[in-house]
């Protein structure tokens, strides 16, 4: 198993990144930090999917003069462009919510907020 994992080191790295993000989401009390953890998790999934498209010695998939096979798989890149947009949108909304929470309660620490509810 470890040998196989060594081959798929890129994928394994995204699992590690995922766990770092999850750790941040669970342990940090500050809402912005919590959300940063979520962003790290998102990035790990993006990295995983983009890594799926890599082929050894591959070139950027842009045709035209001088382009030579093999090319990198274009589909994961296209998907992750969408994924990034979604992540940015979620971040914008989350930050607005945090702004409002801070204005209304004067704190963005989850433990203190829990006490207020």
């Amino acid at each position: 198993m470890l040998q196989d994992l060594w081959h798929n080191l890129d994928y394994a790295a995204s699992v590690v990144l995922f766990c770092i993000g999850l750790y941040t989401v669970i342990t940090k009390s500050n809402l912005i930090k919590k959300f940063m953890g979520l962003n790290i998790m998102e990035t790990s999934v993006f990295a995983f999917i983009v890594a799926l498209g890599v082929v050894d010695g591959g070139d950027a998939p842009i045709m035209g003069a001088g382009a030579e096979a093999p090319f990198i798989n274009p589909l994961p890149q296209a998907l992750i462009l969408t994924g990034i947009v979604v992540a940015v949108s979620t971040t914008a909304l989350a930050l607005s919510l945090i702004i409002r929470i801070w204005k209304q309660t004067g704190t963005i620490e989850a433990d203190e907020l829990r006490g207020m509810e």
Binding site: V25, M41, V45, T90, A94
Partner: protein
């Protein structure tokens, strides 16, 4: 019957683009935004009706956008399960009508055009979610509807609203992530994103990634539909949102997880490469626990909307249990309960919204005796309550009966027992509510002086209550409509 193929793409594209135009049309005016939203919903409903008529005649059909062939372009697929768009259009239209008077008090004025924009986007994304046959497209629609959902919870600007929305957002974002991750895994294993194509190519895929993919995607959808241990975001979010939004969230948006699960099951069963028995057992148990726990929490709530929110968890439990049973009756009952619960819960939330709007109070103890002041609304709520318990001539009965039959069919009578036990619990807390509204002495006599809500609020509530009764009488219609789809789904299992 119209069989023009591109209609399926227009079903999503036309209303979605119109929704995006709402702020430009409204130019700050709440009235213009309202009428525009209503017009968009009408167009969507007409297209939806044409498609549903077509599917009932000729069975599932599909359209690949842009004139490509299936795995290369994005395939939209309309089957009997997609007929759920009927209830999306119906509830959406009624929620918008209900909003007309409601939002003028509940929401700050500059936000109102964006309120309608988000509501429309939410409904249209749900339609897209039900109709698409492409895994990644599914994810995109899920994100539109999640984002608009989070914002709609916070739109009232009440003190806890933003915190509830943030909790919803974090849980929702994690679940979306799980879904995206599974889509990535499935893509790694098959090289395709088209659901039918993925199902065909799953054979021979490595066991561990396959299991992880199906586990993660189901887990993601379970968060979206608030199955018991993953429900923590739901009560606050659904209780604090403006009432028409609560109706849409509780009636429709949580069902998105269910429809997602149905799609996953379609892939799993038709490929035959995945053993779903373990997952099914988990779903059955979680369903049963949700039924009991949701009902249990609901009994102790004094806030009517919070009580309704917990009752949603309980009802999602029925649906998930029906799916997990994987027997014909169970799945039919579950699919139809998606539809019926939407009707019933919308009746209850809109009724509750009308009461809260008129009286300004939201706890059972404060609202004692309101039945004498608002007889029509409370009558509608009572019909909703009877339906949700599942007393015969109403909409809730047949599907719960089917799920119970499904439990017997699957050889697991224990779950039929859990279902009946849950129904008893539900009976207790709705009786408590109806009792408080009709028979208890008002705590504050001024409650007797309130009037019925305006027609735009009373009308949708009464219409929905009437539909609860009608669906009780014609309850077999949706059951027989969905049956071919369920048979097709379960056929690979050898007749269920």
């Amino acid at each position: 019957m119209i069989t023009w193929p591109p209609l399926l793409a227009l079903l999503i594209a036309v209303p979605m683009t119109s929704a995006v135009l709402t702020p430009a049309i409204a130019r700050g005016s709440a009235r213009r935004a309202f009428w525009w939203a209503l017009a968009v919903m009408s167009v969507a409903s007409i297209i939806a009706a044409m498609l549903i008529i077509r599917v009932s005649h000729e069975g599932p059909f599909s359209y690949v956008v842009g004139g490509w062939v299936a795995p290369y372009g994005i395939e939209l697929r309309f089957d009997e399960f997609s007929a759920a768009i009927a209830i999306i259009c119906l509830l959406g239209t009624l929620a918008i009508i209900f909003s007309k008077e409601y939002v003028t008090h509940a929401i700050a004025e500059p936000r109102i055009p964006y309120y309608y924009t988000l509501l429309l986007l939410n409904l249209m994304a749900m339609i897209g979610f039900t109709v698409t046959g492409d895994l990644f497209n599914l994810f995109v629609f899920m994100e539109i509807l999640s984002l608009s959902g989070y914002a709609l919870v916070a739109v009232s600007g009440e003190r806890i609203a933003e915190m509830a929305a943030f909790k919803y957002l974090v849980m929702g974002a994690v679940s979306s992530l799980l879904v995206l991750f599974s889509i990535g895994l499935l893509y790694a294993l098959t090289g395709s994103l088209n659901m039918a194509d993925v199902a065909e190519r799953l054979d021979g895929a490595a066991a561990a990634p396959l299991a992880v993919a199906f586990a993660c995607i189901t887990l993601g959808f379970m968060v979206k539909s608030a199955v018991f241990p993953l429900h923590v975001w739901l009560p606050d979010a659904h209780a604090i949102a403006p009432s028409p939004i609560s109706a849409v969230l509780s009636g429709l948006v949580v069902k998105v997880g269910i429809i997602g699960m149905l799609r996953v099951y379609q892939i799993a069963y038709s490929s035959g490469a995945v053993d779903m028995t373990g997952l099914n057992t988990v779903l059955m148990w979680l369903g049963a626990i949700s039924i009991v726990m949701g009902a249990f929490f609901a009994v102790f709530q004094d806030d009517i909307k919070l009580m309704l929110a917990y009752s949603t968890i309980s009802n999602i439990g029925y649906i998930v249990m029906g799916l997990g049973l994987a027997s014909t009756y169970g799945v039919i009952g579950a699919s139809v309960h998606v539809f019926n619960h939407a009707l019933i819960k919308a009746t209850l939330f809109l009724g509750a919204g009308a009461i809260i709007h008129q009286t300004g109070k939201r706890t059972l103890s404060d609202l004692a005796g309101v039945g004498r002041a608002m007889p029509f609304t409370v009558a509608a709520i009572s019909i909703g309550a009877i339906s949700i318990v599942g007393i015969p001539p109403t909409a809730g009965f047949l599907c719960k009966w089917y799920i119970a039959l499904g439990a017997m069919q699957a050889g697991r009578p224990f779950f039929a027992f859990a279902l009946v036990f849950g129904a008893l619990f539900i009976f207790i807390y709705y009786i408590r509510m109806v009792n408080a509204f009709y028979f208890q002495k008002p705590k504050d006599p001024s409650i007797l002086e309130v009037h019925e809500a305006p027609a735009t609020m009373l009308g949708p509530t009464l219409l929905l209550a009437a539909l609860c009764l009608v669906m009780g009488v014609f309850g077999r219609l949706p059951l027989s409509f969905i049956e071919p789809a369920v048979n097709r789904l379960l056929a690979p299992l050898g007749g269920g």
